[in-house]
């Protein structure tokens, strides 16, 4: 307790932030309700990309019968995560389906039809202290553990000890600063001990010196539960109550509040010896390591226009519409928001599946969040700058993004923008600032990709130009030799040294060409890596630009060729 007091007295703060209405009470009245699967017809859709990184590697075939918790798709390399069956049943399809993603694009997903038995695969706890840390990390990788705060970054990657960046401080994020969302709040209230068990594993893996749980002061019950649970742990865990201000739950913002340190721009927080996890992630680490249960469910807040707002422990893959119906909300003729009102997005369909990133569903978007009035010009009132937690100048970024002045936008640190929405929230002119930043960021990324490709194309073209030039010279030389042959002996004698000079020149050029060729080959080797992961659209753009470049090059050279 004393330690806590001491801690809170030296809390730091970040610039700006806003205080939107909370709307949390609606969904915190009822305890978490755990959904069980009894219906044999129930269908689950499990996208193979529910995490940051590579799409999971499929291990099953259509028609296979699988058990609850069985590995369906494994992590592909380190930056990836596994997918498991939320219940026992049969794989009925593997195909592109609509998923909960702001792009609204379909992605590859497994469809599982339950058999109604909900029978577990054989699973067992792991005594994590008696095996190597590598084995524990491997289990996390195979268990599908990802950050459940919304980022879905594979956790085993973050829990790997790195000699270069030892982690001194482990921060557990229980701030949950977005309005409407209460899934972490309820989890902390009801399953505090299990969270602490998970934290102990994390602390063990990273060998950190201190552990801090940050919780906003609007969750006193959760803070008390966590304090009680922490006091029973063998390791020292400080529960720190932080002031309620959005976005205190942003990892970088919470780090600043709790430690006064700032994670360097564009780098990871481990550079300053800090690693940050969501409390729900700690919970899943515990379930996996101490019980052998992979991540096959999560707690989702269902709120907004529903009869029974609250938190539901939902098997992953359940259709959102079914979940909402259970909570007493409309499925048709309305829209759902996934996440909170500040950073969430409208679901492309009300029938997409529940995924690991889904912390909250707000039902009735059109009714609860009416369209804002039309935007007015920016009056440079700087409210947005005052509210920006990163201390950007949103009004300048807006100006640059609007006028496609991307270089300036980059100079003004566009890529430090966390898209928290504080600027839009306070703008008297109702300018959808964040949308401009999203647009500018994607444009810049696309342009960078295109530029890389263009560089390669230019180099190829340069080489080609060089080759044409060389051929031209060779032809010229032949002409000269022919002409010389028709002349007198003395002239022939004179021509010899000139010939030698041209040859030396030619050798130099050939060497240069060889060097360019080598560079080209090297680039080409790298090139596929650069374009491998980009969308078909960008690849097409790149191809188009390459083609245009090539054409332009051709047009420049052709007339000279003819002159010869």
């Amino acid at each position: 307790m004393l330690a806590n007091l001491f801690k809170s007295s030296k809390l730091s703060s970040f610039n700006g932030g806003v205080h939107p209405p909370q709307h949390k009470l609606e969904s915190t009245r009822a305890p978490i309700s755990v959904l069980t699967i009894k219906n044999a017809q129930q269908v689950f859709v499990l996208p193979l990309r529910q995490h940051v990184g590579k799409v999971s590697k499929l291990l099953v075939n259509v028609g296979d019968h699988v058990l609850k918790g069985q590995l369906l798709a494994n992590a592909d390399g380190q930056m990836s995560a596994a997918v498991h069956a939320p219940t026992s049943g049969t794989i009925v399809s593997v195909q592109d389906q609509l998923i909960p993603h702001p792009s609204g694009l379909p992605d590859i997903a497994i469809t599982l039809q339950a058999d109604g038995e909900d029978r577990w695969v054989e699973h067992h706890a792991m005594d994590y202290r008696s095996v190597s840390k590598r084995e524990v990390l491997e289990r996390l990788r195979e268990g599908g553990v990802v950050g459940l705060g919304g980022a879905t970054f594979p956790s085993h990657v973050k829990l790997r000890e790195e000699a270069k960046h030892p982690v001194d401080t482990l921060i557990l994020n229980g701030a949950e600063c977005e309005p409407f969302i209460t899934c972490d709040d309820l989890l902390m209230r009801e399953r505090a001990e299990e969270i602490v068990r998970g934290i102990e594993i994390m602390q063990y893996l990273l060998n950190t010196k201190e552990c801090i749980i940050g919780i906003e002061d609007n969750k006193p019950e959760a803070a008390q539960a966590m304090r009680d649970a922490a006091s029973k742990s063998q390791i020292l865990i400080a529960v720190v109550v932080v002031p309620t201000v959005y976005p205190s739950g942003g990892a970088r913002q919470l780090i600043k509040i709790l430690t006064g340190k700032e994670a360097p721009s564009g780098k990871r927080s481990t550079d300053i010896g800090i690693q940050c996890f969501n409390v729900a992630t700690a919970y899943t680490v515990h379930r996996l390591v101490n019980h052998g249960e992979p991540v096959i469910s999560r707690i989702v807040t269902v709120t907004g226009k529903v009869a029974r707002p609250g938190n539901y422990d939902v098997p992953l893959g359940l259709a959102v519409g079914e979940l909402v119906a259970l909570a007493g909300g409309a499925v048709e003729n309305t829209e759902y928001i996934m996440g909170g009102p500040m950073m969430g997005f409208t679901l492309p369909s009300n029938h997409v599946p529940v995924v690991k990133a889904m912390n909250c569903i707000i039902v009735g978007k059109p009714e609860i969040f009416p369209e804002p009035p039309p935007a007015m010009p920016c009056i440079r009132c700087a409210r947005c700058a005052d509210a920006c937690p990163v201390s950007l100048q949103p009004q300048e970024l807006y100006w640059f993004a609007k006028s496609d002045n991307f270089e300036k936008a980059r100079d003004y640190k566009l890529f430090d923008c966390i898209e928290c929405g504080c600027c839009t929230y306070v703008c008297p002119s109702n300018i959808p600032l964040v949308q401009y930043y999203r647009y500018a960021k994607s444009e810049i990324i696309a342009l960078d990709k295109a530029k890389q490709a263009a560089d390669i194309a230019r180099e190829r073209n340069e080489f080609r130009l060089h080759r044409i030039e060389r051929e031209k010279q060779e032809r010229a030389q032949k002409h000269a030799q022919k002409a010389a042959g028709a002349k007198t002996e003395s002239a022939k004698l004179e021509a010899a040294p000139a010939d030698a000079a041209t040859k030396a020149e030619e050798a130099k050029k050939a060497a240069l060409a060889a060097a360019i060729e080598r560079a080209k080959v090297q680039k080409a080797e790298i090139a596929p890596k650069n374009t491998e992961e980009v969308s078909p659209q960008i690849q097409a753009d790149i191809a188009a630009i390459e083609a245009r470049r090539a054409e332009a090059g051709l047009a420049e050279v052709a007339p000279q060729d003819e002159n010869n």
Binding site: K267, P341, M376, Q393, C427, P428, S429, P432, V434
Partner: protein
């Protein structure tokens, strides 16, 4: 798809502008009390001219008229210009100044949000350069005038330029305290002796200091309402007071004390209403301090050494030019970046 945030919590542009107008009311009330109701006529004239010209220009530029007329910004410009003009300015002066402010300084630059210069100050500066005689002739406060004019007399004077029979222009006008001080100092009188003249009040100009005080009150309301940030008025007033203080301490016989400068001329109007125009001002906190302090220093220098009795308009316009530069060099440190 991703349209977040779905919620906003901000006063509309209209609300902001209306609060600025509201904050001007105490100053206007004091003005009427000290100089008579003529100012109400000036305000009305300016308002009508501003709204009409704004509407015409919006139509001509093919922009939506209603939202931009309703935003209240034209009224703010009109009122600020009206309050900066001499109280009994002839009607055409008001109209010409307002037209310059709205048509040239605002709409031709692109309308709301795009004007690099403070429109009211453009209007004021144009008038000051074109009609210096009228612009520097202020009527004496009612309680000092030999023959105080009633409201109908003032109305008549504004529109017809005529005074009641037997009243001479000199009988109703006087130099402003700032003006008077400057001329008298030029005649090698000492400050202490000069300020014994009846036009000087307790700290500033007689009567005028009440208007100034009322502006201060309105300004504090705007800070409390978070319509303006404290940076601008504080830095401006501090810089002006500091300049005046240093000169006063060095030579009290030839330089007025800081309190006089704070409560004379357009000081408070400038501090809380004019340099706080967001569109033509800087946006960074440090930038605001530099901008306002710069205007404060320049205002003092023009008052003491310049060719015009009050230097607010020119100082503001000069620093408007510097705004992009000030902003560019005062970017705050971004999270996670080294200083």
């Amino acid at each position: 798809m991703n349209r977040s945030p779905y919620i906003t919590q901000a006063p509309s542009v209209t609300t902001i502008m209306l609060k600025v107008l509201l904050a001007l009311l105490p100053g206007i009330a004091a003005y009427v009390w000290i100089f008579g109701g003529g100012i109400l006529v000036t305000l009305t004239l300016a308002s009508i001219t501003a709204l009409a010209s704004e509407a015409i220009l919006l139509k001509w530029r093919d922009r939506p008229i209603k939202p931009f007329l309703m935003d209240g910004s034209a009224l703010v410009t009109a009122w600020l210009l009206a309050l900066a003009l001499p109280p009994l300015a002839p009607w055409w002066l008001v109209v010409v100044g307002t037209l310059f402010a709205i048509v040239i300084a605002k709409q031709l630059y692109g309308g709301l949000g795009y004007n690099p210069f403070n429109p009211a100050m453009i209007g004021y500066a144009v008038l000051l350069i074109s009609f210096p005689a009228i612009m520097t002739k202020w009527p004496a406060p009612l309680l000092l005038a030999q023959t105080p004019l009633g409201f109908s007399d003032q109305l008549h004077f504004i529109f017809a330029g005529a005074l009641p029979n037997g009243v001479l222009v000199d009988a109703i006008t006087s130099a402003t305290p700032l003006d008077y001080l400057k001329t008298q100092l030029g005649l090698h009188h000492q400050v202490q002796a000069i300020t014994q003249a009846p036009i000087f009040g307790v700290l500033g100009g007689k009567g005028g200091e009440w208007v100034t005080g009322a502006y201060l009150l309105g300004g504090l309301y705007l800070i409390q309402q978070r319509i303006i940030s404290w940076h601008l008025p504080s830095a401006f007033l501090a810089a002006l007071a500091l300049m005046a203080g240093v000169f006063y301490l060095l030579d009290p016989a030839h330089f007025a004390n800081p309190a006089f400068h704070l409560l004379s001329g357009a000081t408070m109007l400038c501090a809380f209403f004019i340099i706080t125009d967001p569109i033509s001002g800087p946006t960074t906190p440090l930038g605001k301090l530099i901008f306002a302090a710069g205007i404060g220093i320049l205002t003092y220098l023009i008052r003491v050494y310049g060719g015009y009795p009050d230097g607010v308009a020119f100082s503001v316009l000069l620093f408007n030019i510097a705004v992009p530069l000030i902003d560019a060099y005062t970017q705050p440190r971004v999270y996670g970046h080294a200083k």
